[in-house]
Symmetry: C2
Subunit: 148 residues, 2 copies
DNA sequence: AAAGATTGAATACTCAATCTTA
DNA sequence: TAAGATTGAGTATTCAATCTTT
């Protein structure tokens, strides 16, 4: 493992952290103004929508959205109270629970996406070329994969 | 303003958000294991170290680290209690306060940096080419600048 | 024992209200 | 009246302890 951090990598990391903070702040503010789902709720529901059977074990969901188990338990509580998902017992392991997205959850995703997409375009995509976007996606995919 | 989000940009945004969550989680965990400064404290102290006179108005500091005013007040309370910075009255505006980094703060930065750097190398830089790093830094700099 | 999920205690963040000075 | 900073109330997050099932 190299010990040296090049100036380019140092700059890239600094921008990565700073831009993330500023961009997500703006986007979350926009979502709140338009009474759309906050980013955390969107991520949870999108993970469920994409999952097989539109449900996921809480364990797996915590991993997907990068939250502690207890943090996820409480986030799921709130989203469930809003009727956008429900818990379901796991038939093969009675310790386990699934989170399943509801019809209202799918509807909320559908309504939020145009607002979220517009914000991504406005704050991010407009300023990044197609080629740069591909480089960013491919480099970060590689870094993520190595995280194991 | 274009309404359309290309697949490449959509992918890039998704990876940007996901990689940020995963990478900062790992890095923060490493810092905690090694009893180094947490990322938030590091950011505050680094902003102060780089600032003119090694001090910044609390207002400006909140902007730099992307925290609400009240959030920053409390973060500064904690870092000040640890002796790594101190508040100083603004001579020209008695409403205002500066945060000034202390010697202990500079020392803590110096001790944390090798650990932080090693984590950045290991989790990020190793997997990103020099050329990709330059593309990431330049694209994100552009997006940030347009945020006004 | 160990694993999935939840709960309690401690900590940290935001918004709105407040205090002080400009 | 407004601006800089802080405080109070409410909410969200984590770690460690707990409960249930494997």
């Amino acid at each position: 493992m190299a010990e040296i951090l090049s100036e380019a990598h140092d700059d890239a990391w600094y921008l990565f952290v700073t831009a993330h903070a500023k961009l997500t702040e703006r986007i979350d503010r926009r979502l709140a103004e338009r009474r759309a789902l906050p980013l955390e709720w969107y991520d949870v529901l999108l993970a469920l929508k994409r999952a097989d059977g539109r449900k996921l074990r809480l364990n797996e969901l915590a991993e997907r959205v990068t939250l502690s188990r207890s943090g996820l338990t409480r986030l799921v509580d709130r989203v469930e109270s809003a009727g956008l998902l429900r818990r379901e017992q796991c038939p093969t392991d009675r310790r386990g629970a699934f989170a399943v997205i509801t019809g209202a959850g799918l509807k909320a995703l559908t309504e939020t996406w145009p607002i979220y997409r517009q914000a991504i375009v406005e704050y991010f995509a407009t300023h990044v070329t197609e080629r740069e976007a591909r480089v960013i996606a491919s480099a970060l995919t590689r870094a993520l994969k190595e995280l194991g």
